[in-house]
Symmetry: C2
Subunit: 137 residues, 2 copies
DNA sequence: CTGCATCCCAAACGATACTG
DNA sequence: CAGTATCGTTTGGGATGCAG
């Protein structure tokens, strides 16, 4: 019991770290916006409410499953609201909450950096790949 | 050939959308920082160079594989540099490039929003879960 | 129209063992 | 010390079918 394998101490460190991460707000936010569809939905709702089917069309390429799942997550987090209109057929509208709207400023910052600097990243990638090719040749 | 199944048109739309996404700088940046370890490495390098083993210790919980992989990606993107010192044993230092350092401001913005607002998100989650529980009871 | 349940495949990741 | 190679498991996510 006084002896501990390397695997033991590693898994112990991992548990402590996981706990740390779970409590970290930045990590939690990163987990949210890193979701492939979250940012797209948020942006789609930026200028007002949208129906489920409108989102489905506007965010081409998203599956029903992922759209529904994404909307649930955002609703649960208080970033959007879901309004059900009981008629035939049913109608559901999604709207940003003030909290959700405030997240758009973060997205805008990301967009700004990307548009200003991603070109440089792409160039770096090509340079790296080119060098890797010539090294292996 | 004039007829197209729903599945066909969907996969066609998906291809077009994927192409659109691949060319989108914001998407590319999101793909980077959404990586679980990228932001942690970037922050770890914020105040200067670090050796591989230092990073490995500082970012507890990361496996060798993921750390190496993350460092390669960041190096390829021109966000960090890798300096090899040939001695026995070998020594490798990683350092942020100006480009990588500029990304820290984005990370800081995320951190600020998270610290200011994630509490509200957590409360929303509890409220949502509580309601879900009482609804199923 | 909106959404849930199921199946299933591919990619991501961790653990482990081995190398210059 | 700083990786690379391989394997097995987990997870994400699409396709499909069904339901209120």
């Amino acid at each position: 019991m006084t002896t501990m394998t390397a695997a033991d101490s590693r898994s112990e460190a991992k548990e402590a770290y996981d706990a740390f991460l779970a409590a970290c707000p930045s990590r939690a936010l990163l987990d949210r916006i890193s979701d492939k569809w979250v940012s797209l939905v948020l942006v789609a709702l930026a200028d007002g409410s949208r129906r489920y089917s409108e989102l489905s069309r506007q965010i081409a390429g998203v599956s029903q499953k992922m759209l529904t799942q994404t909307l649930r997550i955002l609703e649960r987090d208080g970033l959007i609201t879901r309004e059900l209109t009981v008629s035939v057929p049913v109608r559901v509208d999604y709207t940003l909450t003030p909290l959700g709207a405030s997240l758009l400023t973060i997205l805008a910052a990301i967009k700004d950096w990307a548009e200003a600097n991603m070109d440089e990243v792409f160039v770096a990638r090509e340079r790296y790949d080119e060098q890797a090719r010539s090294a292996s040749a």
